[in-house]
Symmetry: C2
Subunit: 218 residues, 2 copies
């Protein structure tokens, strides 16, 4: 994906082509708002789709997990992967069943991941994961020991062959349905954080958790 965003035959949005977006900043914005992706890979001709956390670091999408996981062991073999991030923004309720839809923003990235093995780069990647979800969290918790680093595998997927797809706005009803006696419109959806549930005690003077740190869940 260049700055001026030429789609490849594999990432070009075929259906509803007006929903396709190929510029880098639009994809980054969606990736930075999400934090769970679905990773697709093939093992013995069977596709698998696994949900997992991620972070973006420059022009790479970082994945991590146990060195023992089936997914990580497969991906480190430089196989073709597809990572998709989807944000659901609303239910689109039309006057006909046919025109019902969902407002969403999604990014699909194709490519091969590389193993991040340099210890400093790996540590920096882990910082990205932690701070992607809760800004500043890395700096307040205990950082990984050497043994923990070894148990963790980090992969980096270039955000090059990628496309975003977006549906927004009201339902697109047929003209002849406009008089039907039914409510039509959009019900916005968003993820919201509830009251934090503390685990165990904390030493005196240790502050509680301020939900305002979770900017994407307010």
């Amino acid at each position: 994906m260049s700055e001026s965003n030429a789609p490849t035959p594999r990432t070009r949005v075929v259906r509803e082509a007006q929903r396709g977006i190929y510029d880098r900043d639009a994809a980054y914005k969606i990736l930075d708002e999400g934090f769970i992706c679905h990773v697709g890979f093939v093992m013995e001709e069977q596709p698998y789709v696994i949900p997992t956390g991620y972070a973006r670091h420059g022009n790479e999408l970082l994945l991590h997990g146990s060195s023992a996981s089936r997914m990580l062991r497969t991906l480190r073999g430089s196989v073709d992967v597809c990572v998709t991030v989807t944000l659901v923004d609303g239910l689109v309720l039309a006057r006909s069943a046919f025109h019902h839809s969902v407002n969403y923003r999604s990014v699909m990235i194709l490519g091969k991941a590389r193993v991040v093995s340099d210890p400093a780069e790996k540590m920096d990647a882990l910082r990205c994961f932690t701070n992607h979800v809760v800004p500043g969290r890395w700096e307040e918790v205990r950082q990984p020991t050497e043994a923990e680093l070894k148990q963790t595998e980090v992969l980096a997927l270039p955000i090059e062959e990628a496309s975003a797809k977006v549906r927004k706005g009201p339902p697109l009803d047929d003209e002849e349905d406009m008089e039907l006696p039914v409510w039509a419109g959009v019900v916005p959806l968003r993820p919201v954080a509830g009251d934090p549930v503390e685990a165990g005690d904390r030493p005196p003077e240790t502050p509680g958790f301020d939900l305002r740190r979770l900017t994407r869940f307010r």
Copy 2:
């Protein structure tokens, strides 16, 4: 997946095996709460992961889309597919970076989809999609014309080779980290519906949209 749920080598949860769940009712419950899945399939050796709506009908997962879509055209060729549904329940904030996690419930289904071509069965599937998201919606909107039915492809994937994976509960901190001066616990997350945005006018006496119908977003 039998009632008594033997995992296959392909669906057995390998890592964190205690998170694996193989009973049918647990999988159904997760599928019934979600409404967006990620469909994985292979085209020319490249895996693709596409987000789309779904509904469950008995022991089948129903997918639909335009007959012209690349995904639907591929899947109707009886290829291997993986459909994954993920519900994100909370952020798990531990005292060390290493033990940070996410609470979630997910279901992965492997198999081959069949085309639903019988018109009555197809119409019933479309009713399932509409009412899965908003109960009773099908009965109040205009139902599909013959032309609309033709433009829509419906596929049914048996929920047989499937497994659920669940992480819940507090962070699992190392004993020696318990005295660290940092808040630890779970921040619950859930999708919430905002104020409906009406599109166009409705005839007098037509009721507005009652958000209480969206039982999963309250």
